[in-house]
Every structure is written in C-alpha cells, then in structure tokens.
C-alpha cells in the first residue's frame, strides 16, 4: 500500500522537512512496512503504556510558584535575528 501524494504533501507540511527525492519516499515506505509487523501482536484488552513510572504517580503538579525567570538576555543571545526583546521571523 503506497503512501499517496496527498499524504506526502501533508507530511512535508506538518514535519517541515522535505523529502522530495524518491530516496526519502522510499525510506518512508520501508519504515511503514517495518512498523506493520506490530500488527502481528495480539493486544486485545491491553492498555497503552504512557510511562514506565505509571505505578508511582510521579507525574505530579507542583505549586504555581515562580522559581526562576527574568533571563531575557540569555535567552536572546543564541538567536540569530532579534529586535529589542523579540525573535524575528520572516513575514508571511
């Protein structure tokens, strides 16, 4: 089952990575084929696993206290194009 052109375009748009060469498309096809092996496994009644720590309830919410910040200068330092305290993107 080949990936349709519509899906490819959609993917490029979502991923913002292009693979206009046939090599890229073939690589994707192979990846899908490889992944299809998953369907050999019977997962009836099995819950998806988000985290191996699910039994430990460690994904907690902390108090809404501000503990850090005010580092605008550091954050802007690594950007190539900035104006005042803004990151600059091309228009459009």
């Amino acid at each position: 089952q080949k990936v349709s052109v519509e899906v490819l375009d959609h993917l490029e748009h979502l991923a913002l990575v292009d693979f206009r060469d046939s090599e890229g498309v073939e690589r994707l096809q192979k990846a899908i084929q490889f992944a299809d092996q998953l369907h050999e496994v019977n997962t009836d009644g099995v819950e998806p696993m988000d985290s191996v720590l699910e039994d430990r309830w460690c994904l907690y919410l902390r108090e809404d206290e501000v503990t850090e910040g005010n580092c605008t200068k550091e954050l802007l330092e690594n950007a190539r194009e900035t104006v005042e305290e803004y990151f600059v993107a091309p228009p459009g």
Partner: protein, 526 residues
C-alpha cells in the same frame, strides 16, 4: 559523606595524599587528548576552564577540604548535555555554535562536587545511531583499533596499503564518551541511553556502561530524543566507579518531573560478594539471529560461572523481545518528531538565509540543519502520528510496550533476581564494513539486545568480559529490577572480579611520562 570515607580509591587516595595534584592530573589528560586526537572522541576540549577547575580543586585539597571523592577528577560529557558557556552541538549542524545558557542537572552535580570537565564528547547526530559514525564531526574511532591486542591479531590479515582503514567503530551513540574512558583521557564520562546508546559503545570499547532505571537520574538539560525512554548513562573503567558516579547523580530533581521522589541513598559495593543466594535468568530470546558464536560461548561460560558459585541459573522467556525493535521504531520516531519540532532557527541554532516566509525559513533551516537520519525519523514519526494512523501505530506500539514491560515483571516475579544476556551481537566492526548498511538497518540490528531494557525502564549494565578472536572487547549485560541498582552493581562487580578483563595496551599512550600516568593506568579512581 560515607563514600568519602571509603578508601578504595587509587586516584582519589593519591589526590588526597598529595601524591598527585589535580592540575597535574588535568594536564596529563589534556596532553593525552591531544595525542589521541585521531580517535575523534572529543568535539570540544575545554582546556582553559578545566585547568581553572583543577586549580580550584587543588586549593581545596591544600586546605584539606576536598568536596568529595570526585573532587579534581577529570571527566567528559557527551555533547547532548547542556553545559553553560560551552558549545553543545549534538554533533549536528543544527546546533553548531550553540552556547548553552545553563548546565544540565547532572553536569551541575558533577561540577558541584569538584569534578573537572575536560570537554564534550562525540556522538551520532542527535544520538541517533549505534556506531557514532553519523555525526557532522566525523566518526569516533575505537581506541582498541590501536591496541597491541588488536594489532597482533590483524598481522595475519592482508596488509592493505592504507593501514588506516583497519580501524573499528566505537559503537554508539555515546561512542565518544566510551572511547574517552577507554583511552584513559578521563576517569568517567556521561553518555545517554535510549536504545542501548551507553551499553553498546561500552561493550565495543571495553568499559563499564550503566543505564540506570528510568526516573532515577534527572534528564533536565539532556537534549531529548525519546522522553519516555532517555536516561543519562555512566561510563567508567570499573563497576565501583560506576557506583560512585551513580551516587553523585541519582535523586529527585524538581526540574525534571519524571524523576521519582523517593530518597536515593548512595551506596558502596561490598568487597566480598556471595552470589549463591541469587537466581540468574537467561532469556532464551536473547540468543538472537546473528549472535556470534564467540559471544554465545562467553555467555554460556558466564552462566556456568554463576552456577559453580552456587547461584541458581534458569532459562527464562521474554516472549515479546522480538517486537521491541519495531515498537521502538514507532515510539522513537513519534517522540523524535515531537522533540525535533523545537528546532526552527528562531530561538537558537542554525537559521537558514531563506527569507520568503516563516514556513519556508523553517523548512530550509531544518533541511540544512539535520542529516538524513534525523529527517527520516521526523518524517516517519509524523506519519505514525497522523490522525488516520494514530491508533493503528502509535497507540498499538504503546500497547506492545506494555506487553514487553510485563514480560520482565513476570520473570522477576517468578523469583529471578538478575538477567544475564549478551550486550552486542558481535565485536566491533571495521568502519568500512559498518557503513555499508544504512543507519536504520544497523540500529535495528544492534539495538536488539539492549532496547527492551529501555522499553521497560529497567537498569542494565555492560561489563567488559573478554577479548574476541580479533583482539577486541566483548561485554555481557546484566538487567536488574527497577531501582535495584545496588543489587545489579553488586552482581556486576562480582562478575568483573571473576573475568579479570585485560587492560588495553595503547602504544600511543605509553609515550607519556609513566610517573603520573600510573594513576591513569589504574583501572579505577574509586
């Protein structure tokens, strides 16, 4: 505090007794890094800051107030950990020139204990790979390629004009860190492990590679690949040292909500170890296709070692093992697609000159910044996450993940304490041979023995076991129960003592002054 009092240290003791100073140690390591530059283990060497840290450490020793066992110890860090003021590249064009504004928690912890950071080590781009061959700074060479042991064995082979092409890979993706530890340029190094990236190069480079339980060590500052599987990895020359590093790094971090909140108690490993009360499981599915007969023989020999020491050795089954690579393929690419979305050229990293629109700038930036491997995974990941595919692939993989994790739970519940498996299918391949296959195929082949432990979040360790017929290291892997690192490392230490893995004989390294160098040659610093 308890670790400081233990006198198992060789280098640490030497530092404390003033037989060697931190600056001497640092200088020796820096000199050795220079003369082993051909290994390409380091991307950045932080000479100035390292010497400064060494000087500060020296002051503390002079005052009789070292910070702990790691004070003055030279270490290296994989280049996917953020290090304040130091370039962090992930071996990618996307982050060339990126100067981290902060330290990863694990880096901060090491520095707080006085460790001396020598530099950032080489890896596969964004930690995607099993050979450390796919980074923009070139491949890492396994130090054993230049060892007397390997050279002796290759004499009989055809003499290619270019002796240079005989070198073997270091494994990956933490190849730089493994090579750095293996070639004595540092006493310990940080790696990362998502599918085996610490254990694989450890096996190929003949060093100890520990993958801790997921949730034990903070990932804050480790540039993420797969958030639900990544862990910082520890590479050292002996198991005792791995325990020391673990002790200084483990514990809850408020900045990483996936770290468990239980108190972690650093431990020392006993010297006298009795394995007779243990049950060692041998998972039959790890006798994977492609496993070299050499490694199979070593694995069986190891099982006998335990048997003869009175341990109960049983064959067990982890039936879903063969699906772990497929499962990983889907979950990894999906999380990668998400994690790589942050690289758009706006806030940091490479930015394309294309100005037509924001989207075209993003697309061009990512095309220019990422290599094929990364781009391929992003595309696959996005495919599996499409609405029409989400249940079929992503959720399905999450279900299979649970089955894989449950396999381990069942085995541990049946009374098995530790699993013993090979770490890699064979010894290190020559580079020219390795690159014949593409990254995805290689990873799929090489990760098969290590990946499931990441899937289940379990701790696992590679212990160098013996040299292959080609004179290259082969390691075996122990997998333990969640958060039972003490038991895992105790068994690993026992095994390490039994096998007496030989020290690498590097001629390049002999040329250095042997006086101070004795301390580097000693297998451990702890």
């Amino acid at each position: 505090a308890a670790l400081k009092d233990a006198l198992r240290s060789q280098v640490s003791a030497a530092l404390r007794e003033g037989r060697v100073t931190p600056t001497e140690l640092c200088q020796r390591c820096l000199a050795l890094i220079k003369s082993t530059k051909f290994l390409n283990a380091y991307i950045t060497v932080t000479e100035e800051t390292a010497l400064k840290q060494a000087e500060e450490s020296e002051e503390r020793y002079k005052r009789g107030q070292p910070l702990g066992i790691l004070d003055g110890i030279p270490i290296a860090v994989k280049d996917n950990f953020n290090t304040a003021g130091i370039e962090t590249t992930c071996a990618s064009n996307m982050l060339k020139g990126y100067i981290s504004p902060y330290n990863a928690t694990v880096v901060q912890k090491l520095l707080d204990q006085g460790a001396v950071l020598l530099g950032k080590t080489n890896l596969d781009e964004f930690a995607m790979g099993s050979g450390s061959t796919d980074g923009v700074f070139g491949p890492v060479r396994n130090p054993w390629s230049y060892s007397k042991q390997y050279k002796e064995k290759s004499v009989s082979k055809s003499h290619s004009e270019d002796k240079e092409s005989d070198w073997v890979i270091s494994g990956g993706s933490s190849g730089g860190s493994a090579a750095a530890v293996s070639s004595f340029t540092c006493f310990a190094a940080l790696g990362s492990d998502t599918g085996g990236s610490t254990r694989n190069p450890a096996a190929h480079c003949g060093v100890v590679g520990l993958k801790p339980t997921y949730g034990l060590i903070s990932r804050h500052g480790l540039i993420p690949l797969v958030n639900s599987m990544d862990v910082p990895g520890i590479l050292t020359r002996c198991v005792d040292d791995a325990a020391v590093l673990l002790g200084s790094l483990a514990g809850h971090d408020p900045k990483d909500s996936t770290t468990i909140q239980d108190d972690f108690k650093p431990f020392e490993l006993p010297n006298l170890i009795d394995v007779s009360k243990l049950s060692i499981g041998i998972p039959k599915e790890y006798h994977a296709p492609g496993l070299s007969s050499e490694i199979l023989a070593l694995w069986l020999k190891a099982a006998d070692l335990f048997k003869n020491a009175g341990a109960k050795v049983v064959e067990v089954s982890l039936p879903h093992t063969r699906y772990s690579i497929v499962c990983y393929h889907v979950l990894c690419t999906a999380e990668v697609a998400s994690n790589m979305a942050r690289f758009d050229g706006l806030e940091y990293g490479h930015r394309s000159d294309v100005k037509d629109s924001t989207e075209s700038m993003y697309a061009a930036t990512r095309r220019e910044g990422f290599n094929d491997v990364v781009r391929g995974r992003i595309l696959s990941g996005n495919y599996f996450l499409l609405k029409q595919n989400y249940e079929k692939y992503f959720v399905k993989a999450q279900k299979v993940r649970r089955l894989i994790a449950n396999d381990f739970v069942k085995v541990f519940r049946s009374g098995v304490d530790i699993l013993l498996t090979p770490t890699t299918l064979s010894d290190a391949a020559p580079y020219t041979e390795f690159i014949q296959e593409d990254n995805r195929t290689r990873s799929a082949q090489d990760d098969i023995l290590t990946q499931a432990a990441n899937m289940a979040g379990l701790p696992a360790i590679n212990v160098p076991t013996a040299l292959s017929e080609r004179g290259l290291p082969v390691g075996l892997q122990f997998i333990g129960r969640s958060f039972q690192e003490k038991q895992l490392l105790t068994v690993a230490k026992w095994f390490e003592k039994q096998v007496q893995f030989p020290m690498i004989q590097l001629e390049e390294v002999k040329r250095h002054d042997s006086g101070v160098f004795q301390h580097q040659q000693s297998a451990s610093f702890s």
